[in-house]
C-alpha cells in the first residue's frame, strides 16, 4: 500500500498533493498496490471526500484539534503511527514546504532515508528513484534501500493527471493520533494575512525580468513602465537582490520564486542555471541582451540583441503609439 500525505485548505486538497497522488498512482500501478491518503487537522474529512477520482481507496483522517494549527513534528507523529499500524511500503508527500518538512521529520523519527523531490520511482529488487538536484538542473539516479520508502514529489515536474470520472469517494477511516507535548513545541502561533495590492509576481501572466545588465536600482524604472503597460509584474535575478537593488521577494530563481507566466521578458539576464530553474516554466521567453551567446538564449523563443536601456523604452513607446492610434480609430 502506498500512503500519501494530502495537504488541504478550505475543504479542498492542495494542488501539489494532487500531483503527489498522481505520482503514487503511477507507482502503484507498477506493482498493483492500493493508494491510501492521510489528511490531518480540521476539515480533513471534507478534503478526503473529493479524492475518489484521484485513485484513493481509503483516506485516514486525523481531525484531532491539536493538529489544526500546523505543527510539523505532530503531523509526523501521526504519520509515523499510521506507518506502524498500516505498514505501507511507501509514503509519499508533495515537495511543498510542509510536505518536505513533515516527511523529513518522519524519516528522522523512524531513522529512514528520505528521497526528496523525486520525478520518478522504480520498484524492483532495489527501489530506484530519480530525484532533482540543483532545483532540477541536474538529476540524480539513486537507490532508496529501506523497509519503508519515504519520498517527496518535485513540484510541477510531471504532467498533471485528470481526475478519473465516476469513481466513488474513498472509504473514510478516522484515527486518533497519539501526540506528545514534545511534538507540539513547534506549532503555528499566528497567521498574518498579506496586504493586498500590486500584481503578485507569482501569478502575473507577463513578467519583465531584470538582471546584471540593468545596472542598478534606478534602471528598473523602464522595466516597471513596460510591465505596467502589459499588466504584468517585475522580477529580478539574484544579481539584483544580492546587490541590494531589489527585495528578495522579487527574485526569480532556485532560491527565490518559480514563475510560470505566459510571457517572460528577460532583460540583461545571462541565464545562470539557478535563474533558469525559476523561469523555465514560462510559456515563452523573450530575451533582451547585448550578448547573442548568453546561456539564456537556449531557452529563448524570441530575442532582441542590444542594450536594454535603449530597447525597453522603445518598446514602451511603440506600445503607447499603437494603443493611441487604436484608441483614436475606436472613437471615429
Amino acid at each position: 500500500m502506498i500512503l500519501v500525505l494530502v495537504e488541504h485548505a478550505d475543504g479542498r486538497p492542495d494542488g501539489l498533493s494532487l500531483e503527489a497522488l498522481a505520482f503514487a498512482g503511477r507507482l502503484a500501478s507498477d506493482d498493483g498496490q492500493p493508494v491510501e491518503a492521510v489528511l490531518l487537522g480540521a476539515g480533513a474529512r471534507t478534503g478526503a471526500a473529493g479524492l475518489g477520482g484521484h485513485g484513493v481507496t481509503t483516506a485516514h483522517v486525523g481531525e484531532d484539534e491539536r493538529l489544526t494549527d500546523y505543527a510539523p513534528a505532530a503531523w509526523a507523529a501521526a504519520l509515523a503511527q499510521l506507518v506502524a499500524s498500516r505498514s505501507p511500503s511507501t509514503v509519499v508527500a508533495a515537495g511543498s514546504t510542509r510536505g518536505s518538512e513533515v516527511l523529513a521529520h518522519v524519516g528522522a523519527r523512524l531513522e529512514l532515508p528520505v528521497a526528496a523531490n523525486c520525478i520518478d520511482a522504480t520498484p524492483g529488487e532495489r527501489f530506484g528513484v530519480v530525484r532533482q538536484r540543483w532545483g532540477g538542473s541536474l538529476l540524480e539516479d539513486a537507490w532508496l534501500d529501506a523497509p519503508v520508502k519515504l519520498l517527496t514529489v518535485a513540484p510541477h515536474a510531471l504532467p498533471p493527471v485528470e481526475p478519473a470520472a465516476g469513481k466513488s469517494a474513498p472509504a473514510i477511516e478516522p484515527f486518533e493520533p497519539q501526540i506528545d507535548d514534545l511534538d507540539l513545541r513547534v506549532r503555528m502561533t499566528r497567521r498574518v494575512e498579506a496586504a493586498g495590492g500590486a500584481t503578485s509576481l507569482a501569478d502575473a501572466k507577463v513578467v519583465v525580468g531584470g538582471g546584471r545588465g540593468v545596472g542598478g536600482p534606478e534602471g528598473f524604472g523602464i522595466l516597471e513602465e513596460l510591465a505596467g503597460l502589459l499588466g504584468g509584474a517585475v522580477g529580478v535575478s539574484r544579481v539584483a537582490t544580492s546587490a541590494g537593488w531589489r527585495p528578495h521577494a522579487d527574485q526569480i530563481g532556485q532560491t527565490g520564486l518559480r514563475i510560470a507566466p505566459d510571457l517572460y521578458i528577460a532583460c540583461g539576464i545571462s541565464g545562470a542555471i539557478q535563474h533558469i530553474v525559476g523561469c523555465k516554466a514560462a510559456k515563452r521567453i523573450l530575451v533582451i541582451n547585448k550578448d547573442a551567446d548568453a546561456p539564456i538564449m537556449a531557452r529563448a523563443s524570441y530575442a532582441v540583441i542590444g542594450d536594454l536601456h535603449a530597447i525597453v523604452p522603445a518598446i514602451s513607446a511603440e506600445i503607447r503609439r499603437v494603443s493611441g492610434r487604436e484608441n483614436r480609430s475606436a472613437t471615429t
Binding site: P72, A104, H105, G107, A108, W134, S137, A194, Y302, I315
Partner: protein, 257 residues
C-alpha cells in the same frame, strides 16, 4: 547567544553543468566554490544575532579539506570560530551528514558552551535534500523549523516567521535551544571587508575526522536532463526592433484589451 551555523561547499555553477567521466560528480576544474544562498544568509544571521546579543558564533562544515575556503569566507564577515569535519571527496547522504554533525555538536557542547541556536540553510544548493537540519534537531531532541524568513529573539525563545499560502506570514513561538533552517531573503548578507579577510586567514580551524554512518539514498549517478533547445527567433537589434516586438506582443495576446 552561542550560535552554530552549518554550511556546505558547492561549486559556483554558471550557465551549464558538465559532469565528470564517471558521472558521479560535477566537473569542477573551471569552477570556483561557494555555499548556497540560504546558507550565506544563515551565516549573516548568526553574525547579526551575536552583534545584537553578545556571545559567539561558530561555522561548521562537513566536506573536503578545501572547504576551509568556505569556513574562512564565513569568518571574514564575523563568525568567530570554525570547525571542519574533513571527508574524502565523496558524496555523503543526508543521514550520514546529520549524524556526523550531531557528533560534532555533542563534542563541542561537552567541551564548552551549549548552543542556543543551530542554523542551517533551508536546503543545500546541490543535493537539495531538505532534511539535514531536521535530522540533527531530532537526534538532539530540540525543536526545529524550516523555511524561516525572520527571527525575532525574546527571553529564552525566538519568534520565527516564514511564508505561508496566499502570501500570508506564519509565526511560530519556539523555546531555546532550537534549530532553524533559514531561507535567502531573511537578510541581505554583507560583503567581507579586507581586514575581515585578513583576520579570518589567521584563525585556527578545528579539524575533526567524522565517523561515517550508513544511510541513504545511495547515489548511482548524475545526469543532465535532456531539454530540447528552443529555436530562437531574432526579432532584430536595438530599439529599431520595437515595432516587431509589439507585433509579437499583439500576436501573443498580451497587449490587453
Amino acid at each position: 547567544m552561542n550560535i552554530l551555523v552549518c554550511v556546505k561547499r558547492v561549486p559556483a555553477t554558471g550557465g551549464t553543468i558538465v559532469l565528470t567521466a564517471d558521472q558521479r560528480a560535477i566537473d569542477t576544474r573551471y569552477l570556483g566554490f561557494t555555499v548556497s544562498p540560504h546558507e550565506e544568509c544563515a551565516v549573516e544571521e548568526a553574525v547579526r544575532l551575536v552583534e545584537q546579543h553578545g556571545g559567539s558564533s561558530t561555522v561548521l562544515t562537513l566536506g573536503p579539506a578545501e572547504a576551509e575556503e568556505q569556513l574562512r569566507d564565513a569568518m571574514a564577515i564575523g563568525i568567530d570560530r570554525a570547525i571542519l569535519l574533513e571527508t574524502d571527496r565523496s558524496d555523503w547522504d543526508p543521514m550520514a551528514t546529520a549524524a556526523a554533525i550531531v557528533d560534532a555538536v555533542r563534542d563541542a557542547e561537552a567541551a564548552g558552551e551549549p548552543f542556543d541556536l543551530l542554523l542551517f540553510g533551508n536546503e543545500a544548493a546541490d543535493s537539495g535534500g531538505y532534511q539535514v537540519g531536521i535530522r540533527v534537531a531530532t537526534a538532539l531532541r530540540r525543536p526545529v523549523l524550516t523555511g524561516v524568513k525572520g527571527i525575532e529573539t525574546r527571553d529564552g525563545m525566538v519568534v520565527a516567521r516564514r511564508d505561508g499560502a496566499g502570501g500570508a506570514s506564519e509565526e511560530y513561538d519556539i523555546a531555546l535551544p532550537a534549530v532553524l533552517a533559514v531561507r535567502e531573503g531573511i537578510n541581505l548578507p554583507r560583503y567581507p571587508s579586507v581586514p575581515g579577510r585578513l583576520r579570518a586567514r589567521k584563525k585556527e580551524i578545528e579539524r575533526r575526522a567524522p565517523e561515517r554512518r550508513p544511510g541513504g539514498p545511495e547515489l548511482v549517478r548524475l545526469r543532465v536532463p535532456q531539454e530540447r533547445e528552443t529555436a530562437t527567433e531574432i526579432l532584430g537589434s536595438g530599439p529599431e526592433a520595437a515595432p516587431r516586438v509589439v507585433e509579437l506582443l499583439q500576436q501573443l495576446g498580451v497587449l490587453g484589451r
